[in-house]
């Protein structure tokens, strides 16, 4: 059998507090090495079949890395197509969390029909244009109890939607506020800079043993990547963060805001979508890095080409930042009160930081 990648989080408590957080990952962060010897287009074709949650982002990062290696930039049409693919994947991933996981986290039963409608809409968005965006917005409005754009229009509309408790998602978030957990998991907020850390390229280049890809940092800082880092200045997210800190509620609100923003951008982009397929990566030589903001955060690929074939390939994925042994999850849990319900609170935080593999939580 093929081993399933997993993250195991263990909390050691002492004198009423979480004294130590251990985050262990069995994610196969070295597997990209085996792309060596292949043609870049083989790698680009392979990526969507071996990454189920972020296949589009992986492919786009690969193509961008190959282009960078050849010193080329994508045509505007190609850049638009790629952006549409990544945004559609972002909406589908956030939507799945909200539709399937949020009801379960609140102890309710999920209605999966809108999740399917959303995935179908996003899968077909290139063919169906604006209708795909409208279908997705309808499916989300049905599950959220109000149109997503209206919910995140202002801090007041967001609060009103939560207080109305008209959907499992609203009940989950208002329950989090009621239970005093809105700020749970807040720690010093270190958002990922746009485009990645300044030392991303040299660190990836030097990463011969894969330690950087497994536990990245930038001059000792472990950034948080994903919706909160991207949307921190949005009025809804900024207000929640001001009131409660960058904890559970801020991260979950940021996910809704991020989904609304991606859907809005898609609505614009599909208006005049070029009628051409995503081009295969051009033949190239040299070294290049491709960076994409995927649903869960910054995804970086580094490719080194020699005689048209891959000499080395490295991937740095967002989960390695957020679930770094000294990253936002560990920082957010360290010092938390070791009272009843700690395990559930830790699970909520894991969910809010959205790992791309299954994650277990144990309290010792």
């Amino acid at each position: 059998m093929f081993p399933e990648a997993r993250i195991d989080v263990a909390l050691r408590t002492d004198r009423g507090r979480v004294a130590e957080v251990s985050v262990r990952s069995t994610r196969m962060i070295q597997a990209a090495r085996l792309f060596a010897g292949r043609l870049p287009e083989e790698v680009a074709a392979l990526l969507p079949s071996v990454f189920s949650l972020c296949g589009a982002a992986q492919k786009v990062a690969c193509v961008a890395a190959v282009e960078a290696a050849g010193g080329r930039a994508p045509s505007p049409a190609q850049a638009t197509l790629r952006r549409v693919d990544v945004l559609a994947e972002t909406v589908a991933e956030h939507g799945l969390a909200v539709i399937r996981d949020w009801p379960a986290l609140g102890g309710e039963t999920a209605d999966l029909a809108p999740a399917k409608a959303l995935r179908v809409a996003m899968a077909s968005i290139r063919g169906h244009g604006p209708q795909g965006v409208a279908t997705a917005a309808e499916a989300l409005a049905e599950i959220l109890g109000a149109p997503l754009d209206a919910i995140v229009a202002s801090a007041d509309s967001f609060a009103g939607w939560m207080d109305g408790r008209a959907s499992p998602a609203a009940r989950l978030l208002s329950g989090i506020v009621r239970d005093g957990l809105a700020g749970f998991g807040a720690a010093t907020f270190r958002p990922m800079p746009a485009g990645g850390p300044a030392d991303l390229e040299p660190r990836l280049a030097e990463d011969h043993d894969g330690r950087y890809a497994a536990a990245p940092d930038s001059l000792g800082t472990v950034f948080e990547t994903g919706p909160l880092a991207r949307q921190a200045s949005h009025p809804v997210v900024a207000t929640v963060t001001e009131d409660h800190g960058g904890g559970l509620l801020a991260r979950m609100a940021a996910r809704l805001v991020d989904m609304a923003s991606a859907l809005r951008d898609l609505g614009q982009l599909v208006q005049d979508l070029p009628d051409e397929p995503v081009a295969a990566p051009p033949l190239g030589a040299g070294t290049g890095v491709g960076v994409v903001e995927a649903a869960r955060g910054l995804l970086a690929h580094r490719i080194e080409l020699e005689d048209g074939r891959v000499k080395s390939y490295r991937i740095l994925a967002p989960t390695e930042w957020n679930f770094h042994p000294a990253g936002p999850l560990a920082a957010g849990l360290t010092g938390a009160p070791a009272e009843d319900g700690l395990e559930r609170r830790a699970r909520l935080l894991v969910h809010a930081l959205d790992p791309c593999v299954a994650c277990t939580v144990t309290v010792e």
């Binding site: 597997a31 999740a115 899968a123």
Partner: protein, 77 residues
């Protein structure tokens, strides 16, 4: 990275598929799948492996399985 294993559908009953990969069978829901699938098709599963996330064309699935077999053999998995 969150490697997914393309799995071959060997049976379907009431929206639940039995899928096989690397000699192991498991069951997953087809409820979230955007495409229609039948026995013999390949799908990749979402995190946790309880639902099929996407249909994969056979040639892409076989290429991915070859690569994943290499990953397994190399000890990088």
């Amino acid at each position: 990275m969150c490697m997914a294993v393309p799995s071959k559908i060997v049976a379907i009953e009431d929206g639940i598929a039995t899928v096989e990969a690397f000699g192991q069978t498991r069951q997953c829901s087809l409820m979230l799948l955007a495409d229609e699938v039948t026995v013999g098709d390949y799908v990749i599963l979402g995190a946790g492996g309880t639902f099929a996330a996407e249909k994969v064309p056979e040639d892409a699935a076989l290429a991915a399985l070859d690569y994943l077999a290499e990953v397994l053999a190399s000890g990088l998995a």
